[in-house]
């Protein structure tokens, strides 16, 4: 359509752009107004026609294409919020995704839409005394949940903090305060800098656990009153009836308000185009969980929603070599989590901010 070029205002006054409708409109009014306004209206009309035609054309084009991504991206782009969809719309959206992912990753990818079960509220308990800081949970999570990986950008939902075993002595009382170390960015009385809380998560010793340290893994606490949900301007992140806080990736606008609101550093942003090698991709996915994400959306731990909705433990629970991670139904008095709550000394991280986490730390 060479004659229907998108009109651009040419400020050079080039005679070649004399046919441009905007250029023809003369605001000074030395000429007759009627044809000018007519041609302007004509331009708007033409423009409207053009954009409608181009959309239809694009749709026709992409459905004929072999490119898995192009085939579905148009429909995917214009779909509504998952929570507001009818069951048919959900199913349509799911099969669209299954088709695209299967082509993209060269295997049979399933996208699950299983809803929450009645009478289930998921809770998690972690024995902070047992954790050895080996980070196996972190890597297992990446295997299971299809996070982006590589040198450019690596997303991990769990962060294992190394903390010093504390002890207050007269000699060490003034260590680490401003003076020698400049402005504090964390840390405690003895060590200048931590990254989050009073721990650091970039530790790299030969063997763990180190004698003078203990370890505290943090991830999404699946709050009952989640601050991230409160701030989301498009309500794309919400708490599911069985507890986990999830993200509808297609509805996410990437504003990252939730990342700022979360007191637990639990949310991650896809700054670049996610990189997920085909052979490492986990084909068993859930719409609200580990399906491949796109650039510009936020993601987080969902307690492995694709596993727990079908009765299986989350991947981090299974992989923990010391059995520090416990998981189950908070409404079932016989569940492992409830037994921990009944019998052990338990605390919740930052309980004072009234987020009511369903993630509990305990000691023997």
């Amino acid at each position: 359509m060479p004659e229907e070029k998108i009109p651009v205002v040419d400020i050079t006054g080039d005679p070649a752009s004399a046919g441009n409708p905007i250029q023809q409109w003369n605001p000074v009014g030395t000429e007759d107004q009627a044809p000018a306004s007519e041609s302007r209206r004509g331009f708007l009309k033409k423009g409207a026609g053009l954009s409608a035609a181009s959309l239809v054309g694009t749709a026709a084009l992409v459905t004929g294409s072999d490119d898995a991504k192009a085939n579905t991206s148009w429909a995917e782009h214009f779909q509504g919020a998952y929570r507001l969809m009818t069951d048919e719309e959900k199913q349509e959206s799911i099969s669209r995704l299954e088709q695209r992912y299967s082509k993209e990753y060269g295997k049979n990818v399933t996208v699950d839409g299983t809803d929450a079960q009645e009478g289930v509220l998921f809770g998690y308990a972690l024995n902070i005394q047992k954790c050895i800081g080996c980070r196996r949970c972190v890597k297992a999570c990446v295997q299971e949940n299809n996070q982006t990986r590589g040198d450019e950008q690596e997303i991990e939902w769990i962060r294992v903090l190394k903390m010093e075993k504390g002890e207050f002595t007269q000699e060490k009382l003034n260590d680490g305060y401003p003076g020698d170390y400049g402005i504090q960015v964390g840390g405690n009385a003895y060590s200048a800098a931590g990254v989050v809380l009073e721990g650091e998560h970039y530790y790299e010793p030969e063997k763990v656990p180190e004698a003078d340290s203990h370890y505290m893994p943090i991830a999404c606490m699946q709050c009952e009153k989640p601050p991230c949900v409160k701030v989301c301007p498009v309500r794309t992140t919400y708490r599911e009836p069985d507890g986990p806080v999830v993200v509808d990736y297609n509805w996410c606008i990437g504003c990252r308000m939730c990342i700022g609101a979360c007191p637990y550093w639990a949310r991650r942003f896809n700054w670049g185009e996610p990189k997920l090698p085909k052979e490492e991709m986990n084909p068993k996915t859930h719409y609200l969980g580990n399906r491949p994400r796109m650039k510009g959306v936020v993601e987080k731990c969902t307690f492995c929603i694709q596993r727990i909705r079908h009765g299986r433990y989350p991947a981090c629970v299974e992989v923990c070599p010391v059995g520090a991670r416990k998981f189950g139904n908070l409404l079932d008095p016989d569940s492992e989590v409830r037994r921990v709550l009944d019998r052990k000394r338990v605390f919740r991280l930052k309980a004072e901010v009234n987020t009511y986490p369903k993630f509990f730390y305990f000691t023997d």
């Binding site: 800081g133 650091e200 299986r312 992989v319 010391v322 059995g323 079932d332 016989d334």
Partner: protein, 254 residues
């Protein structure tokens, strides 16, 4: 090194050289909880589905394709607990213990070695690989000795408080003799490890004591911990533009 067994690779090499049907596929072995004593070989249990995914760096299992692969039902226990509601399975320990099939017949055959009734810890002639210094056993702080756990006549069995034989597949019946509160927590699922289904009525694979703890070295020397040290997985990469973990002293100019 636990990741690939060198001796098996060598064996494969010999086979490849001698046989025209050469297959030089590398065998991947990784460990579940206790390095060297809870090993699992990577195989395919269904089209494109491995039984385990192994960590290339630390040699541990990172993911189970089938949580019940290679398990069998757990034996009865005298006290009712979780296992009576759901389904409990365990992985037999015997394949992990190299000498177990022969130790009850080859060396300890009932007449040999001659039974020694001296209860005091002394230097062992054999088994230096298991207990490097038998006079300083790293378990029980001098309070226990071999035959408190191992059956005195039937050496391929353990022994309970009444002198009954206990299978190596059920060490909990032995360990619970002393570690009562831990045993109770383990039965109720709040000590130790389980994989499978989260429901209290679900099917779970239970880890038994010796799958995580080395009973001959539970004190772990100066660390005084029941779990052996192991190599951690790689640290996360630093965010773009950050050059050290303290977020201080950036190399790039602002």
């Amino acid at each position: 090194m636990a990741f690939m067994k060198m001796n098996q690779l060598v064996l494969f090499g010999v086979l490849a050289a001698s046989s025209p049907l050469a297959f030089a596929e590398e065998e991947t072995v990784c460990f579940e909880s206790r390095e060297g004593s809870s090993e699992v070989k990577k195989t395919e249990i269904a089209e494109g589905l491995p039984n385990v995914k192994c960590s290339p760096r630390a040699g541990g299992v990172l993911w189970w394709g089938d949580p019940f692969d290679g398990t069998e039902p757990m034996g009865e226990m005298k006290i009712e607990a979780d296992y009576s509601k759901g389904e409990a399975v365990v992985k037999p320990r015997a394949p992990q213990l190299g000498f177990l099939p022969v130790c009850g017949v080859a060396c300890h055959n009932g007449t040999f070695p001659v039974k020694n009734d001296d209860p005091n810890p002394r230097k062992l002639v054999m088994h230096g690989d298991v207990v490097p210094d038998a006079s300083d056993l790293q378990h029980g702080r001098g309070g226990i000795w071999c035959l408190d756990c191992h059956h005195s006549d039937t050496r391929n069995k353990l022994v309970d408080n009444f002198g009954n034989e206990v299978s190596f597949d059920e060490p909990q019946k032995l360990c619970g003799k002393c570690h009562g509160p831990i045993y109770r927590d383990w039965r109720d699922g709040i000590h130790g490890k389980r994989i499978g289904e989260w429901a209290s009525t679900g099917k779970k694979r239970w880890w038994v004591c010796t799958e995580c703890h080395n009973p001959h070295d539970v004190q772990q020397g100066a660390r005084n911990s029941g779990y052996a040290q192991l190599r951690p997985e790689r640290a996360p990469i630093l965010p773009k533009g950050i050059y050290n973990k303290d977020h201080e002293g950036h190399q790039a100019a602002h």
